[in-house]
Structures are given as C-alpha cells and as structure tokens.
C-alpha cells in the first residue's frame, strides 16, 4: 500500500532559484573613502551569506574584500581604457565639474602623461562600460549604489530590461548642506530616479528630500536604514594616554571635513566647552575640502593646543581612536544616515549626534542636539565629561541596541525588495 502510493508520486526537482544581482558601486573596502564603501560591503556580505549571488562592478581596479564576484570595469572589458588612479580625487563626494586626473601612459623619459576629466565624464564612461557588461552577463536585478553609479544602472536596465533599484546614500542636497545644489548632479538624480523601478533610501530624512525635491512618488521609495557590524572588535593599545593620565577628557570628530558634516559647529562648541572645562582635548580625524578653513577657525579661536588634527584614520588606527576617546561627536548639518555613532558604540564609546541625521531615527541611546545649537552641544559635551554615569549608561544600553541594527537585517529588507520586483517575472 505504502509502496503503491510512493510510486504514484512523481518527484520533480527544480534547481534552487539563486537570485543574481548586478550591483554597481563606486568604492569598496578597504578603499579609503567613507561610509559608502562600508555600507556596500555590509549589505553585499550579508546578501551573499544568505544565498544571493552578487556581481559587484567597480569602475576601476582596486583591492577588495569579501567572497562575491567583482568586475572592474576598467580592467576586464576589452574596449575599456586602462585607467590608473593617481590621486584620491575620484570620489563620489565631489562636484560634477571636479576634475579627475588619470595617468594614460608614460612619455619617453618615463614621466606620467595625465588626462583630466570631470567626474561627470567618468560617470558616463562607467555607464558605457555598464551597458556592454549588461549585454554579456546574466542576472535578475540591477542595484546601483550612490549617484556616481545611477547612470550605469540605468544603462544596464536599458540593455537588459531587468528591474532597477537605485540606492541613495546621499543626495545633492546633503552635499550642498542647503539648497545651493550642483544643478548637473541634481538633474542626473531626477532622471535616474524617474527611470528606476524602486529607490532605496537610508532614512526617512532622505526619503523626505527625494519626495519633496526630486518629485519621486512616495510609494516608489523604500527606507532601509544602514546597519553596523555587531561582533566585538579587538581592543587596541590606547592612544593619547599621556593626556588621559594628566586628567584630560578626549572628544572626537571623525569624518570628512566638509560643509555637510558641520565640523565648524564642532569647533565652535569646543571653544564654549573650554571656557568651562580646561582639561578637554578635541581631536579632528578626517580629510576634506574644508580642512584649511577649519584649521584657520581653530587658530582664530586660540585653540591650537586643544584641538588636534589627526589626519584621516582608517581601520586599526580609527578603531584605536574610537576606543581611546570619551565621546564622539557627529555634528552633521545634513546626514542621510551617519555610521559613525554605530561604529563608536561598537567600540564602547557614546556619541552626541545631530538631530539632522538619519541614524537618529533608529538610535535611541545617543545624545541628540540640533547642529546649530552650539550652546546645547557644549552643554551636553560638558555633562558627559562631568557626570560619569551618563557615558557609562549610554554605552551600555547603546551596545545592546546596535545588536538590533545589524547589516543582516538591512540586507533582509533589500532581499524582500528584490523578491517583490521579481514576483511577476517567470
């Protein structure tokens, strides 16, 4: 009887469906640029870990980490121009007409020959390569990160007809920290958003911008907050320990030094803090187009001995700094998300963040302040340095909280989005 039933069932085995995603990005760890690469890596790593096949396309050859497939548009395409990077100017954080210099060859004396292109030209070259690639590769969904990859994503969609997701890590409005946006980037964003099937943003703050400024319909926009790594990082030997022994407290700014990040408000608050607490050291870690202005501001305020410029810190150096300081301040004027407070908490350090940041939508255990309210910023910094229970409480509770904000959860939302776009595709 049982045998008869068994024989009447025909078992058909379909190969398991593995989704293949063609992803365009502009940078990837350990490339030293900023949060964009970290976010791309976090999401890609978790998507791959949960069984999605990710084909990650970067504009030029670079060292990468992770076990997904990488394609370097400059190296692997037969008709691509071999571009070697000579400076770190090629960044998604610049203006459309920022000039990028590339070495195209060497003269008889062995000196490099440069060619200068605008970022906009680079973006379109990347798109051209993307269309060639899209014709060659097989995939189910296209996912393009940040504005420098939008055109590449749109080009791949035109060629393949596959659904396109644009992932907004920042908008031209964030970079301008106001309404004085780069018209070329804004136009590019508008057109790309119109062509996309779905737009992913990293916060409700960003959703509000692209709905009101770029005219994207709200239904087309999905908020996927960024996450963070939730493992306990190794502890390093602390830096600036001589200051700490002398009774100093240390407050850190970590990030790009640009108008969007509000470093000038940080320095103004530092001045106010030092009127009340002399034993405080402020550290600025990062690079950016506003660096000389900030250094001048420090000199003008007479704070040269109290504000240290650490330069751009990465990996172990950055982690050491996070572990050595008493408070991290993220005073951003406009911050689509802002990974810094999550990274700081991972290292057990509390943060003071601006209310104008996407991360403040999901992080409860942080001090929050309006970026322009210098007095309140100083008030909260001093309170943290004076009342020991405060940083202790924020760090303890915050460390528990970030466990709920992992990259895996963010990747799960992205995966659901892929599935919803593919539901009518057979």
């Amino acid at each position: 009887m049982l045998h008869g039933m068994m024989s009447s069932v025909r078992i058909v085995l379909y190969p398991p469906f593995i989704m293949r995603v063609l992803t365009f990005g502009w940078e990837y760890p350990p490339s030293r640029n900023g949060g964009l690469g970290v976010a791309c890596h976090g999401l890609t790593r978790e998507l791959v870990a949960t069984g999605t096949d990710v084909l990650f396309v970067l504009p030029k050859q670079q060292r990468t980490q992770g076990n997904n497939t990488f394609i370097f548009a400059d190296a692997e395409l037969p008709d691509s121009v071999v571009v070697k990077e000579i400076s770190s100017a090629l960044r998604p954080y610049g203006q459309a007409n920022s000039v990028v210099q590339s070495i195209i060859g060497y003269d008889e004396q062995g000196n490099p020959r440069y060619v200068a292109r605008t970022i906009m030209e680079e973006v379109h070259r990347f798109a051209h390569q993307a269309s060639l690639l899209a014709a060659r590769e097989s995939f189910d969904v296209i996912h393009a990160h940040d504005w420098t990859s939008y055109v590449a994503g749109v080009a791949a969609k035109r060629v393949s007809g596959k659904p396109l997701i644009l992932h907004v890590h920042a908008t031209s409005y964030d970079q301008a920290a106001g309404d004085n946006v780069d018209p070329a980037i804004f136009a590019l964003e508008r057109e790309a958003f119109a062509a996309a099937d779905q737009v992913v943003v990293v916060s409700n703050l960003t959703k509000h911008i692209i709905v009101t400024k770029h005219g994207v319909t709200a239904e087309k926009v999905t908020v996927v907050h960024n996450g963070c790594d939730i493992y306990d990082p190794p502890r390093h030997r602390p830096v600036l320990s001589a200051y700490k022994k002398a009774g100093y407290k240390i407050v850190l700014y970590h990030g790009r030094i640009s108008i969007q990040k509000g470093v000038d408000y940080f320095i103004a608050a530092a001045k106010r803090v030092l009127e009340y607490e002399s034993k405080v050291l402020f550290v600025v870690s990062g690079w950016g187009d506003m660096q000389s202005q900030i250094i001048c501001q420090v000199g003008e305020a007479g704070l040269s001995d109290k504000v240290l410029f650490a330069g751009a810190l990465w990996e172990e150096e950055r982690d050491t700094m996070y572990q050595s300081v008493d408070l991290v301040v993220m005073p951003s004027v406009s911050e689509p998300f802002g990974l810094v407070p999550l990274e700081a908490l991972q290292h057990g350090t509390p943060s003071l963040i601006s209310k104008q940041s996407g991360v403040s939508e999901v992080l409860t255990h942080a001090l929050k302040v309006d970026f322009w309210d210098i007095d309140e910023m100083a008030n909260q910094i001093i309170a943290t340095l004076r009342y020991d229970a405060l940083p202790r409480q924020i760090a303890t509770a915050g460390k528990l909280e970030i466990k709920q904000l992992s990259w895996r959860q963010a990747a799960a939302k992205i995966y659901q989005l892929y599935r919803s776009l593919l539901q009518y595709v057979t």
Partner: protein, 444 residues
C-alpha cells in the same frame, strides 16, 4: 456585604527646566521654566486644572451631594498642593470643599513624593511630618492611613507605620506576594500586630486607569453598568474592592472624549443599586474588617510597570547615580540651616525626576515617554545633574561662609579685654551645654 474603597492620588512635581552647565553658579532657580514646553510647571498646572481637576472636582462634589453613601479617599503630594496654591487657588478650594463633606478621607504621604524611605529614614520622617502639618493646615484633618510614593511598600515600611501610630497602609495586591489569595480582603503586614494593609485590586483599578480609552481592548467601550457587574460579581467572595489610581486618570490620562466623566458620573449609582454594596473610606475598611492573613513583602513593591518594583526609578546607572548623589547631600544641606537650599534639595528628590531618566524598553518605555516632558532620558539627566551641581556648589559656599563666620571673632582677638570677654563667653556656652535643655545639638 461588599464595600468599594476608591482612592485617588493627586500629584504634580516641580519639573526641572532645561538647566545648562552655563547656569551653574549663576542661577538658583531650577523649576521656573517660562517657555511653551511641558517643563513650564505653571502652564502644566493650568492645563491639567482645566482638563482634570476642575471638572472632576465638580463631578465628585455632585456625586457626594446626590449619593449620601458615596465615599472616597484622596492623597496629595505637598508639591501639588503648593502649586495649586500658587497657580490655581480655586482648585485647592474645591478640594477643601470635598473634604469638608466628611466623606473624603486624606491619606498620609511624603511631602515631596520622594523615595526617601529607601535612602534615608530620618529625611523620610521629616517629609512625612511636614506633609501631616500641611494637610492639617489646609484641611483640618490628620491622616491615619499611610501610602508611600508610587504605592511603594516593604515590610519595614509597614513596621515604621505601626511604630508611628498609623492604623493602616496601602499596597499593590500582587500575585507574587498574594499567591492564590484575593486582594479583596484586609491583611496584616508581616511583623505587625495592630495595623492592616489595604491591597489594590489592580485588575479592576487598571481597567479604568489604563485600559478605559483603549479601543483595542476587548471590553472597549466600557460602560458603568458592565463595570458595576464586574464588581458585584465579587459578592460572596470578597469584602472590599480597593480601586487605587491617579486622580489625573479623569480627564488627563483618559481624556474627556473617552467618556470617562460620564462613566464616573454613573458608576456610584450603578454600584449602589445593588442593596448589599456600599462605599467605605480606607479607615472604615480597616476598622470594619478583620485581617484574613499575612502580607509578606521583603522586597520593594510598587504599582508601576509590569515589574511592580522600583526599576522604573532605579533601573539604570544614571538613575541610581543621581539618586545616590542627591541623598548624599543630606548632612551638608541640613548643616547650612538655609531653608531655601533645603527646599530646593527636597524638590529635587521628587521621584518623577528619576522616572524621566528611565530607559526601559518595551511598552513600559512608551508609558515613560508619554509622561516625560523631556525629549530623552539623557536630557532629563543632564538638566537634573546641572541643577544638582549648582545646589552642591551653593551648599558648599554656605558651609564655608559659616565656618569663616565662626572662626573670625576668635581669630581677630588682639585686645586683652576682648580676649577675656571671649573666654567668658566660651565658658558660659560650655556651662549651658552641660544642661541638656539648652543643648541645641541634640535636636539634629
């Protein structure tokens, strides 16, 4: 016979304004916010007076007039009474009129709605004494039944009440300590011989206080008729139904549009429609019923949150630290004998300040956020600690000034006649201090 014992708790704290570090040493006013925010104490009193105190008192007066059997109890924090006096004197007058009916009992409490019992019993005693005096001044009565801040209770508090002449005390009727037993009887606190404990029926109390306006609740909308049958169901199985809740339930926690006033208006009539049902004040309940067993609460029990303990006030580092710091000032601040400083110190002991610093998760956390005038627990802590630092500084100055004032006359002596005079004075003081009657140090 089944009696209902309603008791409403009236409290308003002095909320600390956004006191910044820059104010330390310059501004000795911590509670005088004048902004449009919820830190403006005057504004809050005026708002809650219109939403809750005025309409509810009018309604309670009406109920007392219509139903001669209707009785209930009130408890007041001194900080609420002070603010009524200053910002809404008519509210205070209407409370006095209710009490004048002779059917409204007032309970004993701490003046500053503090957790002093768990940090300093001498300070607790001073606050209870001040409360008793104030209640007598305003209402002409002396409370006989005690309730502690947030209904916090422990065996040793009951022992203290017995030693200090109270006939009863109130507590949460919590399964952890009741076991299978019902809260609808009177119990004897552990280690006590004379006093009795009245236990809150939290199910029936919270149906009104928390669930009344909740549209997701299975029993919504709750009519007075239905609720009366729930109470009448206890005929035969219980003696007293103790309904303890915040007074502000009426009109403030449950807004007028939930129908809470209509509910309150019809309830006494519905309850009294059953011939065997009556109202009793806490004193009557304690006098009329024998205790049926012992209530043993070795750890602190409160009426707050799902934990029913002190964690809403002492659950995290910033709460514990600020509480310990404020009580650590006791010896110094009393030493100053400066009434203003002592008053500020006591206002900072009000439990609400620590409640605003709560970072507990889940639904309870939402309750805390609803009742907090601050944007975050950390904002609450910073404002509190800045005010605390200013107070600490002022106390230190006052003490320093005292010691220099005491030292100066002795140090300046160069003229021999003066020296003799001072020696005589010192001898005279010593002689007096040998007679216990003049020895003012023994009073401290």
């Amino acid at each position: 016979m089944l009696s209902v014992c309603p008791y409403f708790h009236v409290h308003q704290p002095y909320r600390v304004k956004r006191y910044r570090v820059f104010d330390i040493g310059y501004d000795n006013q911590y509670f005088n916010d004048t902004s449009e925010s919820d830190l403006n104490n005057r504004k809050i009193i005026e708002k809650v007076a219109n939403k809750s105190y005025r309409p509810t008192n009018a309604l309670l007066q009406e109920l007392l007039d219509t139903h001669p059997e209707f009785k209930f109890a009130l408890s007041f924090s001194g900080t609420a009474l002070d603010q009524f006096e200053a910002y809404a004197p008519d509210v205070l007058a209407s409370f006095q009129q209710l009490v004048a009916s002779g059917r409204v009992e007032i309970l004993a409490d701490t003046y500053y709605h503090s957790l002093a019992f768990f940090y300093s019993v001498p300070e607790f005693e001073r606050q209870v004494a001040k409360h008793t005096k104030r209640i007598h001044e305003l209402f002409g009565v002396t409370p006989r039944v005690f309730r502690n801040t947030e209904l916090s209770y422990r065996n040793d508090l009951a022992t203290w009440c017995e030693a200090n002449g109270y006939i009863g005390i109130m507590a949460e009727g919590w399964e952890k300590y009741l076991g299978w037993r019902s809260p609808n009887h009177v119990y004897r606190p552990k280690d006590c011989q004379r006093i009795k404990v009245l236990l809150k029926n939290y199910k029936l109390s919270d149906d009104i206080a928390f669930r009344f306006g909740n549209q997701g609740w299975a029993s919504w909308p709750l009519s007075a008729e239905t609720y009366a049958t729930w109470i009448h169901d206890h005929h035969g199985s219980g003696q007293t139904i103790n309904l303890f809740m915040d007074y502000e339930t009426f009109g403030e926690h449950q807004w007028e549009d939930t129908g809470i006033f209509d509910f309150l208006r019809s309830l006494p009539g519905m309850l009294l429609a059953h011939p065997e049902t009556t109202f009793k004040t806490p004193t009557e309940t304690i006098m009329d019923y024998d205790s049926v067993g012992e209530y043993d609460v070795p750890d602190v029990l409160t009426w707050a949150d799902t934990d029913r303990d002190l964690t809403a006030w002492t659950g995290n580092d910033i709460q514990r630290d600020s509480l310990e710091k404020i009580y650590a000032l006791e010896a110094d601040v009393l030493c100053t004998r400066d009434d203003y400083l002592i008053e500020q110190w006591r206002k900072l002991q009000t439990s609400d300040h620590f409640y605003y610093m709560c970072t507990k998760w889940s639904e309870d956390g939402d309750v805390h956020a609803y009742f907090s005038p601050y944007q975050s627990p950390y904002d609450a802590y910073i404002a509190f600690m800045n005010a605390f630092s200013d107070l600490q500084l002022r106390i230190q100055h006052a003490i320093n000034a005292q010691t220099t004032a005491e030292v100066e006359p002795d140090a300046v002596v160069t003229i021999p006649q003066l020296l003799w005079w001072l020696r005589f004075k010192l001898w005279w003081r010593r002689m007096l201090s040998r007679l216990g009657f003049f020895n003012n140090t023994s009073h401290e």
